[in-house]
Amino acid sequence: MTTVTVRIPTPLRSYTQGADEVRAEGATVAEAIHTLGAAHAGLLAHVLTPEGEPRQFVNIYLGSRNVRTLQGMATRVTEGDVISIVPAVAGGAT
């Protein structure tokens, strides 16, 4: 089984008990994200639509590339890859 590191953005760390990185197993980005979701209840709904695609306000990166520019959620991962969840963040003024 392939193990990857998933970087958790600050707004979602309440679902990972504060962890900024979580290890997950899977052969593709989709599998790794679903493994992550199974281990951390409530997280998946913030990242993926019910159809399993990244939500409109979230991007999923494999290394420095958006998976949308690769093979989407079906993009295959290799041992040690880093997946980053990058959500829209609004804060700035107040």
Partner: protein, 391 residues
């Protein structure tokens, strides 16, 4: 024969001379025209497009102005004598194609060739911006660009504070500030453009006072209103060169994005949450827009809750300063901006990560067949908190 005349005769034999008209034609073909006169002579007028380097620092400045040693150089002074000496010096430095303009600027002007009076720095401005003026990447031309530039800041809070102050200090000519909020105690942990004595004062006014105390040359335009679909076109119609987005909510960010695409104004984006910051540049026509990255804002039930908020005070100082840096480069047209790159900064780990952004051909606003063609007033929300419509 005096020594200088003997030497000039030798130089004339060695350096080809051209007439002012020939010099102009060479310039049009790509030669660099180098004005080696003193600053007070140049201030009376100089050919357009020339490098006004003077004679004193010529050898020290020429490589920054003309890095290519094969590029033809036409040296110019007032009568055609100093330019011969200057040409000889640059030949020794390694430049290979040197000409001297016979008759100098006097003849150029008498022949009715184009002349411009270079904009001048008053002594105070020369002093204030001296650290910019001595850098080739800014220099006089760059500083004049900054002084003619207009940057509008959306939000005079955490990100807007450092951005406004650095842009004002750098001498940006006009700064617009859009903010409908007033200063309160909780702001002072990070919003350094405000102060204790400004409590209760509109943030836009408070920022204006700080900016004017720092640099009275900056013209500050204050918009004490919240950016909405109703006022965004009016506010952006004032000819802004750059928008610095330091808003604190999704409705404003999407409004800024859509307006920037339709007005063709680049946006320097910065956002922060707790210990984490994001920064990039959205430049219409050249790179992706905010909606290429995030087509829609999160619905209320998936937005971070208010109780999970908070921000490390220094974080907006870092991200807002990065925004000021990007805005200055956009105004100068220098360097590489963050177009097509999202910079992620983690203040807790002190790491910068960069990820690639691409333009999305199916983007609802800047894509090939846009589906959003008018402003959208999204509902502002905050899970578990108050909800109100932004407009």
């Amino acid at each position: 024969m005096k020594a200088k005349e003997r030497r000039l005769a030798e130089l004339r034999a060695a350096i080809p001379e051209v007439t002012p008209r020939e010099a102009l034609a060479l310039q049009a073909q790509g030669a660099a025209l180098i004005d080696v006169r003193e600053a007070d002579e140049i201030a009376q007028g100089s050919p357009p497009g020339g490098h006004r380097l003077g004679r004193g620092f010529l050898e020290l400045k020429i490589e920054d102005a003309v890095p290519d040693f094969e590029r033809p150089l036409v040296m110019m002074c007032n009568s055609g004598a100093r330019s011969l000496f200057a040409a000889e010096d640059l030949r020794r430095l390694g430049y290979t194609r040197l000409f001297s303009m016979a008759g100098g600027y006097t003849r150029w002007k008498n022949e009715g060739l184009p002349v411009e009076v270079p904009p001048r720095f008053d002594p105070l401005a020369r002093e204030r911006y001296s650290r910019h003026l001595m850098m080739p990447e800014v220099g006089e031309a760059g500083q004049l660009k900054l002084m003619a530039s207009k940057v509008i800041l959306v939000g005079a809070g955490g990100l807007g504070s450092p951005a406004a102050m650095y842009l004002a200090a750098a001498g940006v000519g006009t700064l617009g500030i859009v903010d409908d909020d007033v200063v309160d105690e909780t702001n002072l942990q990070r919003q350094i453009v405000h102060s204790l004595e400004r409590l209760g004062e509109p943030k836009a006014e408070s920022a204006k006072r700080t900016i004017e105390a720092l640099n009275p040359d900056v013209e500050v335009r204050v918009f004490k209103e919240r950016l909405t679909s109703e006022n965004v076109d009016r506010i952006l119609a004032e000819g802004w060169d750059v928008i610095v987005d330091g808003a604190d909510n999704f409705p404003t960010r999407y409004l800024v994005n859509d307006a920037s695409v339709w007005h063709g104004i680049p946006v320097v984006h910065g956002s922060i949450f707790r210990f984490e910051g994001q920064a990039t540049v959205f430049k219409p026509g050249e790179g992706p827009c905010y909606r290429c990255l995030f087509p829609q804002p999160p619905p209320p039930e998936l937005a971070p809750s208010c109780a999970e908020g908070g921000v490390l005070g220094v974080l907006p100082g870092i991200v807002g300063s990065i925004q000021a840096n990007e805005a200055i480069k956009l105004a100068l047209g220098a360097g590489e901006t963050l177009v097509g790159r999202l910079l992620l900064f983690d203040a807790l780990e002190t790491t910068f990560t960069e990820i690639a952004l691409r333009r999305d051909p199916s983007c609802p606003v800047c894509g090939e067949s846009p589906t959003i063609t008018e402003y959208v007033d999204y509902v502002e929300f905050c899970q578990g908190g108050h909800t109100h419509v932004s407009s």
